[in-house]
């Protein structure tokens, strides 16, 4: 339960960090809050040759409200975003989901971007980003910055579109749209534990969007337009089967499909209620 040896770097600026990534790319792992990476290192599931600690890069610790998005920098902690006074009014779905991310004692270190970059299929923040249609900013010394949609960023289990010489420098959450309701529901063995299944719903005049985490290999989003109430259960059932969940120690595929049906319905109803 001790990590394998590694070389440690602590850049003080983004330029230094990107330069290091450009020179060593495949050997480097990026350390922000470390609440997912360090357990994996302690278990020796991950043995990076070089560890780049970005926590000293002050310029990446920010929350910026723009007209259409809220941008969160790479070193901003989950606790800081949760305590941000405008969170509930600008990105209500994230305000609902964040209390489920880890615990009081881990949100103080864990970062918003780190959670997205880690891309665990059961993780709440990537699910929110997918349902809201947000994006990830990737930066590299060679090619500059590019903005990648959540759908294109997360490719599978702990797998993203990030190239080795790139770093996630920010994520952008679209702000709440008028007349739209949002809701978040999850089932975990203890609150703050990894979810067995998490769902996020967005309901507006234009239709229903439901995202599911913890069943497929990445958060999966489905849209329904003009779905009559009488067809909801059938639509959820079809979605649950399409996700092809598997059995593990925390729950069977049968149980997970049932959670999609039940939590999905609950979230859609709650989101509809929140529109008013």
């Amino acid at each position: 339960m001790k990590p394998y040896k590694f070389e440690y770097f602590r850049p003080a600026s983004l330029e230094e960090a990107l330069d290091l990534l450009a020179r060593h790319s495949e050997d480097v792992r990026i350390l922000a809050g470390g609440q997912s990476l360090v357990p994996m290192m302690n278990f020796r599931l991950v043995q990076p040759k070089k560890l780049m600690d970005i926590t000293a890069i002050k310029s990446l610790d920010y929350i910026r409200a723009e007209r259409d998005t809220v941008e969160v920098g790479a070193t901003t902690t989950q606790a800081k975003l949760l305590e941000w006074p405008q969170l509930a009014s600008t990105v209500p779905l994230v305000a609902m989901a964040l209390p489920h991310v880890g615990h009081f004692q881990t949100r103080s270190r864990g970062t918003v971007c780190g959670s997205v970059a880690h891309s665990d299929p059961v993780s709440e923040l990537p699910l929110c980003l997918a349902v809201l249609g947000g994006s990830v900013i990737l930066s590299s010394k060679k090619t500059g910055s590019r903005e990648v949609s959540a759908a294109d960023f997360q490719l599978g289990l702990l797998l993203t579109a990030r190239r080795y010489d790139e770093m996630v420098t920010a994520v952008r959450f679209p702000v709440r749209q008028p007349g739209t309701g949002y809701a978040f529901q999850e089932m975990a063995e203890r609150k703050g534990d990894l979810a067995v299944c998490a769902v996020a719903a967005k309901v507006s005049d234009r239709g229903i969007r439901l995202g599911v985490g913890g069943v497929a290999e990445k958060p999966t989003v489905r849209d329904w337009n003009d779905l009559p109430d009488s067809g909801l259960d059938e639509a959820l059932n079809a979605f649950a089967w399409d996700l092809e969940g598997s059995d593990d120690i925390h729950g069977s595929a049968v149980y997970r499909r049932q959670l999609v049906r039940r939590l999905g319905r609950r979230a859609i109803m709650e989101a509809r209620e929140c529109r008013k």
């Binding site: 001790k2 990590p3 070389e7 440690y8 470390g34 360090v38 302690n42 606790a79 270190r109 609150k191």
Partner: protein, 170 residues
Amino acid sequence: MPQVTSDGRTLINFILNGKPASGQAEPRMLLSDFLRQVAGLTEVHVGCEHGICGACTLRIDGEPARSCLTFAVQIEGRRVDTVQSLLGPRGELNDLQAAFRKHHSLQCGYCTTGILMSATAFLEKNPNPGEEEIRDMLSGHICRCTGYVGMVRAIKEVVASRSAKSKVPA
């Protein structure tokens, strides 16, 4: 840019319970091991070593942190507070510790130092929490002796007595 080779050791200077401290560590050394083995602070308890049990929780620059998920090299220039920081000038227990003793909030005591540090940081941020919020904070710790009821009682008592004190006109 600070850089330490994998076999190299580096001198880490930091503030430990209010006093300047230093020690040598290689990059892979966890803060929990560093404090126990190099600084000699055995009140930092090591449980699961992957951030779940909460026994090793302490405060870094005032924020609660799992010391098993932090590398010693990361605390250069930072303030680290363990349970010793709660004691009064003559080594007496503070109000939270005394309430834990009074309400039998501990049995074996292994989880207690971490919980006291969490609760201290939590009450600074949220001086008037309800029982639900206290239980939510405690969900970041595992205690296999007490069932948490005594801890909830102790924290509620401290909340009540601190808020009564702050209302007394000067």
